[in-house]
Structures are given as structure tokens and as C-alpha cells.
Symmetry: C2
Subunit: 180 residues, 2 copies
DNA sequence: CCTTTGTTTCTGTCTTTACAGAAATTAAAT
DNA sequence: ATTTAATTTCTGTAAAGACAGAAACAAAGG
């Protein structure tokens, strides 16, 4: 499949963006391609379109499937796998956030909790340091539990909340005890 | 300076985390060190403590300063630079978010806007694809403007909002027109 | 059961990034 | 101005990651 210059630019940039956030370039590019395109593609289609090795496509697709961003489809009278990407932007965002949380933030939280506990009995550590460790932990926990709450809301509600923006802040500071 | 095992674990993990998010390991480690420690450190102190080359420390510190996460201090009768890290967790978070937004999200937004405009006149691109490009753009814009609003609020208010969590959602769906 | 088609795993190469050590630069103190 | 201390920039090496091509594997059809 031949890409229009605009789509090419889009996909290349998306790949670039990926690398800056620790995502493999090819993975990001394939994701962008499958997102933009309006029909399922085979691994060979992708390979031709992006000019990457077959094996690279295969591994990247596996990665994307493990993230839940891409699914396999079959077409009548064709035994090849056809791949389609999740098409809803908010859903994509939700999936990526959720997955990174699970893969990176959760393990981090575990380690930080261990450290906080060890620090309690480690008299080499100054009280001020211990306090800071606790603060980081508290920060991440508030953030994650907050996130867990918000992710349940429908996108339209989240959009409303985002657009209310700082008005919400005024509201919050009216009542609501600060139980930090 | 000798590190207690707990601090070592903390710092190593922080470095590990950094790499997963596109931050240089040493940069992340030095940041963690300076954050945890309760006094300014010289480049040589850091070098000894973390066992990395002097040049590496120098470059990493420059990087951290460019992010606004570390500042130089001078002590009476000592011409060496002493480095201190920002100590407030919420402020650190704000600075990092802001900086990454500036360095990565803003340029992305520019490219995506260019693409969206080019796509309008590019008849190789299907209508559905164009629509998806617009949706991504819209999504990022809502997110960024929302963020711009919330970052002005004091942390205590944000904490309150986060803790209200999904209750806010119920509120938002009561009134508030959905002007998407 | 053998052939064809499709997919994955393996192996080696290339590219990028991280880093150490040396050289060069800057700046303070005498 | 010269010496000394401090810091940065430069250069080469090492490690990690990305990727292509080949080989191996799996499965469907005849």
C-alpha cells in the first residue's frame, strides 16, 4: 500500500514520539498506520508499506496485541491474519495508560513501599529522607487511586471535567476537607 | 558519601524507571540522590557516591539544571559548585510534566496540526482517516488545555479533586452541557 | 503425507546511546 | 601573570536496542 505524504509524515512523527517515551519506533509506526488506515492489513501489507523486515513486523504486531491495541481478523477464503487497531482515541489512551500503569507504575509502587518500610528501621537514614520517601509514596498513591476513579467515567464526562478546569478548583476549595 | 542499602535500592530503581520513560539512567539516579539527600553535594561527591565518571556527572547535572530540577549553591570559602534538588514532590512533578509538555507534546501538536491541514486538501486521504486525525488533535488539545488549567491550582486542591474522584463525574453529568 | 502458505524464532549486523578518561577551558587566588 | 582548582568538552569504547535475513516451525489443502 502506498502512503500519501501526509500519512507518511504522521506515521514517521508518531514513531519519533514513541522513541522519546520508551516505545520502539517500528511498534509505534505500525500502530499509527493501523489506526489511520480504514481496513485490516496483513503483515506483508505492513511490511511493504513501511519498508521494514517481515520479522520486525511480526514482533511489533505481537507487542501491539499484548497491549490490546491491535486485534487479528480473518477474512473469508484467506488464511492470512489481518490486523486492525483500536479505533477510538479515548479508548486507545485509556488502554495505553492502563497498561503502562500495570507494567511500570505498579512495580515501582511496590519497590517504593519496600523502601519506605526498610527505611523505618534503617538508622543510617535521616528522618528528613524518610519523610521524603513517604511523600513520594503518598503522591503516587493519591495519583493512582485518583486515576482509578476517573478511568471509570465515560470520556464525555471527563471532557466536561477537563473543560471546567480551574473552575472545579474554586469549587473544591469551597467545601471538602483537606485530609492529607 | 556512603549510601545505605535502602537508599541505594531507591536510587537504582529510580534510574531503572527513568530509562523506561526515555530518561538517561545516570540523570535519573543523580536526581534521586540529590532529592533524597539533605544537603548540597559537589560533583565529586556525586561521582564517588554513584561510581560514575566525572564527565557523566557534569553532563547529567547540566541536564537536570536545564530541566529546572537542580540548582547550584555556593558555600562560604569553597569555590566548588554545590548542587541541590528541588525538594517538593508536587513541584517536581509539575516541573517535569511542564518540561516534557514543552519539549515533546507541543512540537507534536504542531506537526499534527500541519498534518490535519494538509489532509484537508490531500484527496489521497480517505474521509475516515481525516476524521481520525482530527479526533487525535482534538483529544490532545482538550487534554493540554485541561492540564494548563489544573496546573494553576494549589496541590492541596488537586489532591481534594483527585480524592473526590468519580463523585465529580456524577456531578459533571448532572449539569454541564457537553460541548464537544 | 507432502506441499504450500503463513508466522515466529534465531543469529548476526548496524545504529544509537551511554559512558569513561583525557584534553581543554575557565576562573579564582596568590 | 602564573599557578592551582574546578568544570566542561572532546574522543574513543562499550553496551544496549533495533532490525534484516535466514532458518525453523505450524498449519491448512490437496
Amino acid at each position: 500500500m502506498k502512503l500519501s505524504p501526509t500519512m507518511q509524515k504522521y506515521i514517521v512523527h508518531w514513531g519519533e514520539m514513541g522513541t522519546r517515551w520508551g516505545v520502539n519506533r517500528t511498534v509505534a509506526q505500525i500502530h499509527a498506520l493501523l489506526f489511520l488506515v480504514n481496513h485490516p492489513m496483513t503483515a506483508d501489507d505492513i511490511m511493504e508499506t513501511l519498508n521494514v523486515a517481515r520479522s520486525n513486523v511480526s514482533n511489533s504486531l505481537k507487542e501491539l496485541q499484548s497491549w490490546g491495541l491491535v486485534k487479528v481478523q480473518h477474512e473469508l477464503g484467506d488464511r492470512r491474519d489481518h490486523f486492525v487497531a483500536l479505533q477510538d482515541v479515548w479508548e486507545i489512551f485509556r488502554v495505553i495508560t492502563e497498561e503502562r500503569k500495570k507494567r511500570e507504575l505498579d512495580p515501582t509502587l511496590t519497590v517504593l513501599r519496600e523502601c519506605a518500610i526498610e527505611a523505618e528501621t534503617d538508622f543510617e537514614i535521616e528522618a528528613a529522607t524518610r519523610k521524603k520517601m513517604d511523600e513520594v509514596l503518598e503522591f503516587l498513591e493519591v495519583l493512582m487511586y485518583g486515576y482509578d476513579d476517573f478511568k471509570k467515567l465515560p470520556p464525555s464526562t471527563v471532557i466536561k471535567l477537563l473543560k471546567m478546569g480551574s473552575k472545579l478548583g474554586q469549587l473544591a476549595s469551597l467545601f471538602g476537607k483537606d485530609d492529607t
